[in-house]
């Protein structure tokens, strides 16, 4: 009765994304002289939405889940709940960013490249989610990173954009070499690169130090991608200087991509119980990183004057929350799947919230309101709908129950407590309260302060509005509909540990 698709169709989302990117190149080369913003963004969004729809369909249909993961290309790729779940995050964020970009880059040259780079980066991320060996991890990582470097410095006549691109690229290149060196050290000890194969041999290695060095370097590589301390330095500048939709994209999707490889590599290849015995307590290391990240991101965010930079630091802080998903793993793991699932849920909801927040800044830039909090004074009287939307996403980011961010953050804290790491949750709680303070600063500016007489808001960009409102709406809907996210994430997490 049921018709079974061929196994390779499991990577259909990736294929759709990469094909769309190609189509964009073709379309762009048909009309090399003229820009077609509607056409280009239309194609792009069609591609990402299709990919997302397929991923959601697979998730709903149970593809690759409940222990039935689909492995392809001699175990190099795997399609399971986790891969699909994160693919949904990447494609959803990409869709919102593309819709918003329609207004943002309409007046810019090289839009075809812009969109296709965006799609290729998305492809890379989707590939990261499916990567099942360190080779694929590295290749996918580079596929995601390289277009991102270019996208960040897309506004090549803008000093900020260039500076951001330079820093992002230089530190990214450095980090990827460190990451690669880590891989090579792991290979030195184990002689394999496929994740489950590493797990199979890691128990019998000769030199713990070399493996330990390798694991530490790998984790630092993840830290770069997720913008976690101590490899977070690029993030404030890259987010601040990049074209704002790209900031949204990198801080939401790219961060999630970093997490998905971290989850998969650490859990699949380096089983905690084995490595703990070897003396490589990587959970402890993640804990150190998580606490440092939460503290640094939030404390620095609290004292920013520039809204976008505040969001950048807050995005670092959120990486710290999500790291709880790894930091609160235990051996023996009674609630490991809950902990990991919590981080996945948070990354999903965070994708919408954070994208919404950055896109609001993009809207502000569009109107030329300026960069600081004061520049946003009284915007609610001029743009109430966008302001309601951003209020929703900001409050949700702060962990108040207007959206799914509330539940995801508290499920994370819950996970930490369930594992007995109440102090992790306590640190999270403290900085969460602090985050309320700085998000409320923007709310205060928007709602409470009175608007300056000089600012004129006379045009309402459709793309940006649509994207912001959609992001807010999804955030809100994910509060009552959180069960869908929670259950899917948990199934994926259980599979990963199985």
């Amino acid at each position: 009765m049921t018709y079974q698709l061929a196994p390779w169709t499991a990577i259909a989302p990736m294929l759709v994304l990469v094909i769309t990117a190609m189509v964009l190149y073709i379309v762009d080369s048909i009309y090399p002289e003229r820009e077609h913003p509607q056409l280009l963004s239309g194609i792009s969004v069609a591609g990402t939405v299709t990919a997302m729809a397929i991923a959601i369909w697979y998730l709903a249909a149970g593809t690759g889940q409940h222990g039935g993961e689909i492995v392809l290309f001699w175990d190099q790729l795997v399609v399971d709940g986790m891969a699909l779940f994160f693919t949904v995050i990447f494609t959803a964020v990409a869709s919102l960013v593309i819709v918003a970009s329609y207004d943002y880059v309409r007046a810019q040259p090289h839009q075809g490249e812009y969109y296709s780079l965006l799609l290729l980066a998305t492809t890379g991320m989707a590939l990261m989610a499916s990567a099942n060996s360190l080779v694929m991890v590295f290749i996918a990582l580079e596929l995601a990173s390289l277009p991102s470097y270019a996208l960040v410095s897309y506004l090549k006549r803008n000093r900020g954009s260039v500076e951001a691109g330079l820093k992002y690229f230089l530190l990214g290149a450095l980090s990827s070499t460190i990451f690669l060196y880590g891989i090579s050290l792991v290979y030195v000890e184990t002689g394999v690169l496929q994740l489950t194969a590493i797990a199979g041999t890691v128990g019998e290695i000769e030199n713990v130090a070399i493996l330990g060095f390798g694991v530490v370097l790998l984790i630092l590589g993840f830290a770069f991608k997720t913008a976690s301390v101590p490899f977070h330095f690029w993030a404030p500048e890259a987010y601040e200087g990049a074209p704002t939709p790209i900031s949204a994209f990198i801080s939401s999707a790219s961060k999630a991509a970093g997490f998905v490889i971290a989850f998969r590599v650490l859990i699949e290849a380096f089983p905690y119980e084995v490595l703990l015995e070897l003396g490589i307590d990587w959970v402890l290391m993640i804990q150190v990183i998580a606490v440092a990240t939460m503290l640094l991101g939030n404390f620095a965010a609290a004292v920013q004057e520039n809204v976008k930079r505040m969001l950048a630091y807050s995005s670092i802080g959120h990486a710290g929350y999500a790291l709880i998903g790894l930091a609160a793993l235990t051996n023996p793991g009674g609630t490991n799947d809950l902990v990991l699932a919590a981080a996945m849920m948070h990354l999903l909801v965070y994708g919408f919230m954070n994208t919404g927040a950055f896109l609001f800044v993009a809207l502000g830039e569009h109107w030329g309101v300026g960069r600081t909090f004061e520049d946003y004074n009284g915007l609610a009287t001029q743009a109430p709908i966008a302001c309601v939307a951003v209020t929703v996403v900001l409050l949700s980011l702060a962990g108040l129950p207007v959206g799914g961010g509330f539940l995801s953050k508290y499920v994370l804290f819950m996970g930490a407590v369930s594992a007995g790491f109440w102090w992790l949750a306590a640190v999270g709680a403290v900085v969460s309260a602090l985050s309320l303070f700085y998000y409320a600063r923007l709310l205060k500016a928007i709602w409470i302060e009175s608007p300056p007489s000089t600012r004129v808001v006379d045009e309402y960009p459709v793309g940006l509005y649509t994207a912001i409102v959609l992001a807010a709406l999804l955030t809100v809907v994910l509060l009552p509909a959180f069960f869908a996210v929670a259950e899917t994430a948990q199934i994926a997490a259980v599979d990963l540990f199985a």
Binding site: L134, V135, E142, A150, E163, L170, S184, V188, G191
Partner: protein, 101 residues
């Protein structure tokens, strides 16, 4: 086996450190990039050498991929350095420091 495996490890580590030293000390963006390439190759040494040691081709294959990716990376990097030069009339990486704190 001509040399002990530790030698390869030491070589690669040394190369890595040289690269890192370059990264930390050179302010020229191109030199920075070249130093990073050195570090990449440190990893490649490990991969290739231990591919032989472990008796499989995984490492060597991966090293080929890495070389290709390094090329792509340089391509992007050079692009960025070009716009940097255009904006700042210089390729000094420490000049581009308007965004901070």
């Amino acid at each position: 086996m001509a040399a002990p495996m530790e030698a390869y490890l030491l070589l690669s580590a040394a190369l890595f450190c040289v690269g890192l030293f370059g990264v930390l000390t050179r302010r020229n963006a191109l030199m920075f990039l070249i130093s990073v390439e050195l570090m990449l190759n440190a990893a490649n040494i490990n991969l290739v050498a231990f591919s032989l040691y472990h008796g499989n081709l995984t490492g060597q294959t991966f090293a080929l991929f890495v070389i290709a990716l390094a090329a792509a990376e340089v391509a992007i990097g050079l692009g960025i350095i070009m716009v940097l030069n255009r904006q700042y009339d210089d390729v000094d990486v420490t000049r581009a420091a308007t965004m901070r704190w």
